[in-house]
């Protein structure tokens, strides 16, 4: 890791680990003289008033809250717990998995982990290092450690909360003891999380009396922090379709206005957002169920009309198996009962249905509050940000594909994408917050070559990358690899890329348009074709980024394996090691959805 090596040479004595230092450098990047002076004062003040916190981070911590997050949910749960513990005078160390040194585990006394699960039961990218350490040979006994795990997942997937389960097994295998049994939470995790936080709170109290704990509570520095629980209301400045009318995929470019003092993001970050459900669909839902939209219902502490709850607060488009089960209990329909007992079939059932399909096919008796109760709260949706704040301070750009499909005699529109691409109008507002994506970042050393691989809307973060590089005046050799259906219809942001090529920021553009020719070509195949060049770039220190769907990501990985073998003269095992080493060095970063 070139940057880290440079850093070690420049700061031989620094007390931070490589990643902390890199992130610090990223954080202050672009500050002017005045801002730097202010920041140094700010850091000095932090150090002066919280000496023991610093110590706590440096020495073996009494209590560590570790989170591994993809969408920001795990982080949010961990933060809430940290707040709660701090309010009682504890000073937990809150740390993201990618900033955590796995060998510190042996020094831990109390470890509380919040971890989400990806597609096929994998942990989030940020926890790869931790997992491979625990699975490897260098682990030492963790018999002094007590731990608790909060697993986040989605029960509509096969490997529900698998990452949490795996972590539990790994810790058990090293002799760690449980503070509390693992708790798994489904997509509608808030109430489960709250319960668990209380349990943890009392368990910690029991295990570690307050007088032993550190007593200086951490003050949150930002007065307002916009997160999933407190979204910022951003105004839509502009929306335009950027695929042609004859394209099969409808992709829109959105520009939202934000206050740069309140919303800050870096290239690679995502925007979480809440949307409004389709009023037409809600009318239909009310007419089928015979419920009154004006009836008042209670959601948590809030009271509002049913219509408003359905539009703004409840999840109607991502049908969850647990909702089907709950609905099933209200009907006498045997088909639905049988279905509810078979998770396989249930998963298949929800895969191409929305609430409206369920309700219209299986009528049931339900009252307004009953309906509210069985539905999940609306989950915010994440979109990679397609603009750089350094270049455009007060806007966030998003690239949104309309999810639409025909099934069961009905046209279906995605919840968020339907709102964002069909319903929302200029000057409307959306609740948004930034979801940091520290594992998808520009190289810290300016001028490091980048290979950016994206399919479909997976190209979005690269627009942010290059906007940032351009506005910083960074020169470097960059290579964009993009795949979509048709050159003339679906070449997202084509003129931007051509302009970057003209200005010299983009050296190479490789394309795979799958439907332009008889034989379908995808990015992984294009990469393999250009494997010699790709390997050469990697040898020259290039960072490789991959953004897109799971399938593409797997294909790209296979291509990389093959390229390392063909052009790097490696066998299969060392090819895999080579790619793993790139990943560990932060030179192979993925943003997969």
């Amino acid at each position: 890791m070139e940057v880290a090596i440079q850093n070690r040479e420049r700061f031989p004595q620094h007390p931070l680990d490589d990643l902390q230092l890199t992130r610090l450098q990223q954080g202050i990047d672009g500050l002017d003289r005045e801002q730097l002076v202010w920041a140094s004062g700010y850091l000095a003040a932090l150090a002066a008033y919280q000496p023991k916190l610093k110590q706590a981070a440096n020495e073996s911590p009494a209590l560590t809250l570790l989170y591994a997050t993809q969408s920001g949910n795990a982080r949010s749960v961990a933060e809430q717990l940290a707040d709660r513990l701090q309010a009682s005078g504890y000073a937990p160390r809150l740390v993201s998995a990618e900033n955590y040194r796995p060998r510190d585990l042996s020094k831990e006394k109390l470890l509380i982990a919040v971890i989400s699960t990806q597609g096929e039961g994998e942990p989030p990218e940020s926890a790869y290092g931790l997992f491979s350490y625990l699975q490897g040979k260098k682990t030492s006994s963790l018999s002094d450690l007590r731990y608790a795990i909060f697993g986040l997942g989605d029960s509509s997937y096969d490997q529900y909360c698998q990452a949490g389960k795996t972590l539990e097994q790994l810790l058990d295998a090293q002799g760690a003891k449980r503070l509390l049994d693992r708790v798994d939470a489904d997509v509608d995790y808030q109430s489960v999380a709250e319960n668990w936080q209380q349990q943890i709170h009392s368990a910690v109290k029991q295990h570690q009396p307050e007088e032993q704990a550190l007593v200086i509570p951490l003050q949150r520095s930002a007065p307002v922090r916009h997160d999933r629980n407190n979204p910022y209301q951003a105004e839509l400045l502009e929306r335009r379709r950027i695929t042609t009318d004859d394209s099969l995929s409808e992709v829109h470019h959105l520009s939202l206005e934000i206050d740069p003092k309140l919303i800050q993001f870096q290239p690679g970050d995502a925007l979480g957002l809440y949307f409004r459900n389709d009023p037409a669909m809600i009318d239909e839902l009310l007419s089928i169920t015979g419920l009154s939209g004006e009836a008042m219902v209670t959601l948590g502490r809030d009271e509002m009309s049913l219509t408003r709850a359905l539009i703004e607060r409840l999840e109607l488009t991502q049908l969850h198996p647990s909702v089907v089960r709950a609905w099933s209990s209200l009907t006498d329909d045997h088909r639905l009962h049988t279905l509810s007992e078979n998770i396989e079939q249930l998963r298949k059932f929800v895969s191409d249905r929305q609430l409206i399909d369920l309700v219209s096919t299986f009528p049931a008796d339900v009252d307004e509050q009953g309906l509210v109760k069985l539905l999940h709260h609306q989950q915010s949706r994440l979109y990679s940000i397609a603009s750089s704040q350094h270049a455009i301070e007060d806007e966030v750009h998003l690239t949104v594909a309309t999810l639409q499909y025909q099934s069961h005699g009905r046209n279906h529109l995605g919840g968020a994408s339907g709102d964002l691409t069909r319903r929302i109008e200029e000057t409307d507002r959306l609740g948004v917050y930034v979801v940091e994506n520290p594992s998808f970042r520009l190289p810290t050393s300016p001028g490091t070559p980048m290979i950016m691989v994206g399919a479909g809307t997976g190209i979005a973060p690269y627009r942010a990358f290059l906007q940032q590089q351009e506005s910083l005046g960074v020169h470097g050799r960059n290579w964009l690899v993009f795949g979509n259906r048709h050159f003339h219809r679906d070449f997202l942001y084509q003129t931007d890329w051509l302009n970057y090529r003209k200005s010299g920021l983009l050296e190479r553009i490789s394309l795979a348009f799958s439907r332009d020719n008889q034989e379908r070509t995808y990015v992984q195949a294009r990469l393999y074709e250009e494997g010699a060049e790709l390997y050469h770039w990697l040898q020259e220190g290039a960072h490789l980024y991959v953004c897109g769907g799971v399938e593409m990501e797997r294909g790209v990985y296979q291509s990389l394996l093959a390229i390392a073998q063909t052009h790097g003269g490696k066998d299969e095992a060392s090819a895999a090691e080579y790619i793993e080493s790139l990943r560990i060095q932060g030179r192979y970063q993925r943003d997969i959805y």
Partner: protein, 562 residues
């Protein structure tokens, strides 16, 4: 010195005999376009970069580059091709173009809407039937026109042979076309372009051969013209003409259309030497600073005809004899069946706008394909964008006529004026267009027919030519009514052509919108119907009646008021 060579001269000079970076441009997948320089060089290979101008703004909003495609113009001397060639031309147009074939006023066909990736396969496929597109566009001698006269096939064949010889003789010698498109071997070492040199001509160069009394090639509008002189169906030689040209620039009074000067008569054996000499003089004396003034017509104006002619004689090593008297009677096509001396039949089909495609109204493309499937003779594209099914034996006449009628290729209900009129391509593909051309022509014609009906002049043919810009592809400056695009929906109205292509017209009204145009034509046709002499053509009437002054010497008087 402030005077600089036109940038195109440097592009040509640096192109290594028309190679440029075409291979790299073709390999670039990120853009449907060529590099700017290659887009100049590509013209010499026969194709133009274009984009769908209707989509430009929308695509800009979509972060998409313009919808680039290419127009390829084949080289087809005299417009003759075989039915086998036609079948390939048709298939290629369906597979690799936009599904249409466009016949042009240069007696060849164009494909539109070719995507960059399809250029090479397209050129390869037409090459398989011995058709190329070398010099289809660009600063070289373009496709050579030749009267497709079906009256006397043996004479036509002889004259057509000269068209082919001239075309071959004036063809660039570079191997670039073969290397880039046909995977030919690269030629090692230096390569010479003995006639053209590495900067080729200053501007395009057009050549035509006419067989009197037909002036369908508008021989006087060409840089180089040959008028076949015959005696008892024997070719004696040619009257040689030089310095004709159509293109002008709006509001630039230093530009003008011009009819060619007569240099004199030569026997057939001197034809190639004279052609080469005229090209060489233009190569050496043409204006390479201003492309607006680079055509041969301006060179001759500058040198004077006498000096120019002497230079040509010196280089060709010949002396011109006095030109023979000739008589032209028409510039349009004659439609329907004509029998020649040898008893073969020829069917001239009116192709509106030269656009061959299948529509719900008429299946021209499928019809011609079917005809090509059984036809034994050849096809001839006319300089008025029409098509002749030539050399049909008596026995096959009915079958071909049936097919033509079934597919809408033959109709008895078209007015003489429509049949005599032509329009250029213009929007949405042509980058030069300022106003509509062929897309607008049919409906404009409908409205004009209403007027001619009203005044009972619907049996008279008026040669009307519509172009979307002043460059003059449809030769509007020798029409009785010329409409020249000025801006969206606006045309200049020119009057005074003589119906045989021997007199230039003159600007009558500027920048008319459709309403003004139709009103003006209404007044003119009313006047014509009331005041014309017996058999007097509309163009002659406008001159005699004093509506416009005739153009005598365009360099002096073209920009005078009517």
């Amino acid at each position: 010195m402030d005077i600089k060579l036109n940038p195109n001269e440097l592009i040509k000079a640096n192109s290594r005999y028309l190679r440029g970076t075409l291979k790299e441009s073709m390999a670039d997948q990120a853009s449907g376009a060529l590099s700017a320089d290659d887009a100049q060089i590509s013209k010499f290979h026969g194709f133009y970069e274009q984009d769908d101008r209707d989509l430009r703004l929308t695509r800009q909003q979509q972060f998409l580059e313009p919808y680039y495609s290419f127009m390829l113009r084949a080289r087809l001397p005299g417009g003759v091709c075989t039915p086998q060639q036609w079948l390939t031309i048709d298939t290629v147009g369906r597979d690799l173009g936009n599904g249409t074939i466009r016949l042009t006023t240069r007696q060849t066909f164009q494909y539109h809407g070719i995507l960059k990736a399809n250029l090479k396969p397209l050129i390869k496929r037409i090459n398989q039937v011995m058709i190329d597109s070398i010099g289809g566009c660009g600063d070289v001698n373009r496709n050579v026109l030749c009267n497709p006269n079906p009256d006397d096939s043996s004479l036509h064949q002889e004259v057509h042979l000269w068209a082919k010889r001239i075309s071959e003789h004036l063809l660039p010698k570079t191997r670039a076309y073969h290397e880039i498109w046909l995977d030919g071997e690269a030629v090692a070492g230096g390569e010479a372009e003995p006639l053209y040199g590495e900067t080729y001509l200053p501007r395009k160069f057009k050549t035509a051969i006419a067989i009197p009394p037909h002036n369908d090639v508008d021989v006087y509008t060409n840089d180089l013209g040959f008028v076949a002189i015959t005696e008892a169906d024997q070719l004696l030689g040619f009257n040689v003409l030089a310095g004709g040209g159509m293109g002008t620039t709006h509001d630039d009074n230093t530009t003008f259309p011009r009819l060619a000067d007569e240099l004199g008569f030569v026997p057939p054996q001197h034809t190639l030497a004279v052609a080469e000499a005229v090209v060489a003089v233009q190569r050496d004396f043409g204006d390479r600073i201003s492309r607006r003034h680079a055509r041969l017509k301006y060179t001759i104006e500058r040198m004077g005809v006498t000096v120019f002619k002497a230079e040509v004689e010196k280089r060709a090593g010949i002396r011109f004899e006095t030109a023979k008297p000739v008589n032209f009677t028409s510039q349009g096509d004659r439609y329907g069946w004509v029998e020649d001396n040898s008893g073969e039949w020829h069917l001239t089909l009116y192709i509106e706008n030269g656009r061959i495609t299948d529509t719900p109204e008429a299946t021209l493309m499928s019809g011609l394909r079917e005809i090509a499937g059984i036809h034994q003779g050849d096809f001839r594209i006319t300089p008025n964008q029409n098509l002749i099914v030539a050399r049909v034996p008596e026995a096959q006449k009915d079958r071909i006529e049936q097919l033509a009628r079934r597919h809408g290729l033959l109709s008895d209900h078209r007015s003489p004026t429509r049949l005599a009129s032509i329009a250029c391509v213009a929007l949405p593909t042509c980058p030069q267009a300022m106003a509509e051309g062929e897309r607008y022509f049919p409906e404009l014609m409908d409205r004009i027919e209403q007027i001619t009906d009203t005044y009972g002049i619907d049996k008279s043919a008026v040669v009307m030519r519509v172009t979307g810009c002043p460059n003059g592809c449809a030769r509007p400056y020798v029409a009785e009514i010329g409409l020249i695009g000025k801006g969206p929906g606006r045309f200049n109205l020119q009057l005074g052509g003589d119906g045989t292509g021997l007199r230039l017209n003159r600007l009558y009204r500027k920048n008319l919108n459709e309403h003004e145009l139709l009103k003006t034509l209404d007044n003119l046709f009313k006047l014509y119907s009331e005041k014309r002499l017996t058999n007097e053509g509309f163009g002659d009437f406008t001159i005699r009646y004093g509506l416009v002054k005739p153009v005598i010497n365009p360099a002096e008087d073209y920009h005078d008021t009517p």
